[in-house]
Chain length 153, copies 3
Amino acid sequence: MKSQTKYMTFETTERRKLIRITDEVQAAVDEAGIAEGMVLVSAMHITAGVWVNDDEPGLHEDVMEWLDKIAPPSWSAPANDVAEELLPEGGDYRHHRGGEDNGDAHLKNLLVHHQAIVPVTDGKLDLGPWQQVFYCEFDGRRPKRLVIKAIGD
Amino acid sequence: MKSQTKYMTFETTERRKLIRITDEVQAAVDEAGIAEGMVLVSAMHITAGVWVNDDEPGLHEDVMEWLDKIAPPSWSAPANDVAEELLPEGGDYRHHRGGEDNGDAHLKNLLVHHQAIVPVTDGKLDLGPWQQVFYCEFDGRRPKRLVIKAIGD
Amino acid sequence: MKSQTKYMTFETTERRKLIRITDEVQAAVDEAGIAEGMVLVSAMHITAGVWVNDDEPGLHEDVMEWLDKIAPPSWSAPANDVAEELLPEGGDYRHHRGGEDNGDAHLKNLLVHHQAIVPVTDGKLDLGPWQQVFYCEFDGRRPKRLVIKAIGD
């Protein structure tokens, strides 16, 4: 069994940002010389996600608006009544008692998941025509790491 | 290391549908002759999911009603006030500007995840007594593919 | 390829409980003698989850409050208007017609996912500094199983 481990570091200037990393994941598979296997793409932080979806800017805005309603930040005014009710009783996260302000990023991490696995067939990421791999930063402006681990033959 | 790749194509007559595929996943493991390993079951579309849960029709209706509230379609009237507020400001997805109407299916895909991994032990899917694998179509009526990738020894 | 399968059984006295299992997952990797590979941690029940997040008690309370709003139980009064609207029409889950009362636990299982994969590098779980693996019981007070499956070399 071959294996390959690669780390990426992101330091976004924006607090939240989606970054397409399909090519970097394929490069890790190429470097490993793996023809058949799987590659795990996993955020090493608890305030970021990894997902496989469409690279369509309108959809990305839709998703961010939606995530801010169902996993609302407390560092900005609630988007609407639903967001306000989904905040903790009292209006702020208990997690913020230690000085943090990223409680919503933890919830978003749980909601969209922090990792995805891509099958590798004939040396290529075995993705559908519209599937792209994204790193989803929910609390950036500092260095954040991601691990790509490929195993196979 | 052995590996086995199998594709399934679904073309549902309904827009949304849950299809149990546990037996097909086991068959892929059998064909590969894998005794110890893992099998990845992954939708190749960004508007479908894969989950492991109960094969109980009441639960399936519950889940679909719930998903339509928290990731609401815009091709039908909102289920209630919460669904209305969880739609984008203005009432429709930006993603629909290109002529699509499946924005909700993308959100559902992110929410329930598009893939699951099943451990394989002694040649069998190592599932709990109530765990069944489902393909979850959220935008059907056209051919949609799924990949099953088993690796192991 | 080496592989190692380990089962854990939880029987919580509380209905819901988060249990950190990072050390047990590392122990399974140690027992297998795996230096490079992956370890799957997967609940064998459809009313429990597995997640990788912060071991911070305030956050855990936040997450449970939030999950009870977006995937509301019907065995207690709704937390607020949003929770009430996210319950099925009529106020109770169809799944409960057979005598169950854990419909919300099924939804929580789908939402936070029932499994996570941890990469293994140089024999260690390749986690970020704040990442801990948790078993998330949503319907306890009876024996529930989890499978840990490590593969690699």
